[in-house]
């Protein structure tokens, strides 16, 4: 008799805890199943290319340069591992998007048609967090130092030296 009573007094707590676990597991399944793209070479490339374009425009704007047309066709290829020297010139299209997962060791090659017609390739090193946000660090020999000076004499961060972005995951 007493055994039955004890189990009945404890059960609401146990029930509440069980319900919470089940509910959280359900939400986790739902969130995972909701067709999120995740962190892949392709999703990074789709994000880094346009972000680089915008950062290039921002840099030109900060430097007071009116000509902002040249980066419009920039696009990126991202892969994990592979030692590509920052700033190395590669043949466009010679690499494919590959790899997945958060962490360091990502490389994105940004192909950027320069004003004189030939395509410049910039190697950005990426570190991607599990929440989908990344930091891309550019080759300083090509994109300039961390700080740049505006025509008004103000020192600001160089947008191409390092930039952040966040993927939809």
């Amino acid at each position: 008799m007493s055994g039955i009573r004890r189990s009945s007094t404890r059960s609401p707590l146990a029930r509440a805890a069980t319900r919470m676990t089940v509910l959280l597991a359900g939400i986790a399944l739902l969130a995972t199943g909701c067709g999120t793209s995740g962190i892949t070479g392709a999703s990074l490339a789709a994000n880094v290319g346009p972000t680089f374009r915008n950062m290039y425009r921002l840099q030109q704007r900060l430097l007071g340069d009116a000509d902002q047309s040249t980066a419009d066709n920039a696009w990126a290829r991202c892969f994990r591992g592979g030692a590509v020297k920052p700033g190395a010139t590669a043949v466009p299209g010679s690499t494919r998007n590959s790899g997945s997962g958060a962490g360091t060791g990502w490389t994105c090659l940004v192909h950027w048609p320069a004003p004189d017609g030939h395509t410049q390739t910039l190697g950005y090193e990426l570190s991607v967090q599990p929440n989908g946000c990344y930091t891309a660090q550019g080759p300083s020999g090509y994109v300039g130092q961390q700080d740049i000076r505006t025509p008004e004499g103000k020192t600001v961060t160089n947008p191409l030296f390092e930039f952040d972005g966040c993927l939809t995951i």
Partner: protein, 271 residues
């Protein structure tokens, strides 16, 4: 219902009389101004934090840097400081028996205390958000904000988005308040009610950095603290706000439910 409101008013009065509450709220208003003043005086930028690179370019970056900093370390502690003690204080002062001789029942008392802790949490987040936005704009200017896709966000839109980002962490903040209240009811000990949720917050934060446990990462309360990133990209995305909001609501309901059951079943006659 009427009893619960009365209990709520008592609790608010007790909270506003505490030096601890006044100190935390005072710091929430003053600290962002100090932080922004330090940023203004030095050349270095907190580049390892999202938006940290742009603090000298625009004042709208500062409230977002403060948001990242506080949600990473300080917010669970500041919330638990009050929510973790709201029930245990009655044990410390031995005032439960006296409270329960009043006409208000345990349900009304619980509701009053939970509402008061919730109010404190909302006020704390609102003060931090508004103060850091004001400090940023006044000290560092209101030039357009550089978004997470490199596009420029005008001052008007940036103001709305910064406020929305701060509002978006409220579900997790309230979830931590509920967790702290549960610890407070369960341990009947103020320091435990403060320390346990703070440690849980830090552990969840560490867990969210671990790779390869994606489904697990999504059910952490702290995932809600990152959900606002989608507001600042060129193509905005809202799904993290919805899923982490649901997760936070689950924590809130479960912690409050279990806490209420514990209080409801407690035998005060034995001491």
């Amino acid at each position: 219902m009427r009893h619960a409101l009365t209990a709520y008013r008592w609790e608010l009065e007790k909270l506003t009389a505490q030096w601890r509450v006044r100190a935390v709220l005072g710091v929430a208003v003053a600290a962002p101004w100090l932080f922004v003043a330090v940023l203004r005086m030095q050349d270095a930028v907190p580049a390892d934090t999202l938006f940290g690179r742009w603090v000298h370019l625009t004042g709208f970056a500062a409230p977002l840097v403060v948001l990242v900093f506080t949600t990473q370390y300080a917010l669970p502690l500041a919330i638990s400081l009050v929510a973790g003690d709201v029930f245990a204080a009655e044990d410390r002062y031995g005032t439960w028996k006296m409270l329960l001789t009043r006409s208000a029942g345990r349900g009304a008392l619980f509701a009053g205390k939970a509402l008061a802790a919730g109010t404190y949490t909302v006020v704390l987040v609102a003060l931090l958000g508004l103060s850091s936005l004001a400090a940023g704009v006044v000290v560092l200017g209101h030039d357009p904000l550089v978004g997470l896709s490199g596009t420029l966000i005008t001052a008007g839109t940036a103001t709305g988005l910064v406020l929305a980002a701060w509002a978006s962490v409220l579900p997790a903040a309230l979830g931590f308040a509920a967790l702290a209240m549960l610890c407070s009811v369960a341990t009947r000990n103020g320091p435990a009610g403060i320390i346990v949720p703070t440690l849980v917050g830090l552990l969840m934060q560490l867990g969210s950095f671990v790779n390869g446990v994606d489904p697990l990462r999504r059910v952490l309360l702290t995932a809600n603290f990152d959900a606002w990133h989608g507001l600042f990209t060129a193509h905005r995305f809202y799904q993290p706000l919805v899923t982490t909001g649901l997760v936070s609501a689950t924590y809130l309901v479960a912690c409050l439910g279990i806490g209420y059951l514990l209080l409801h079943r407690r035998d005060f006659a034995e001491g």
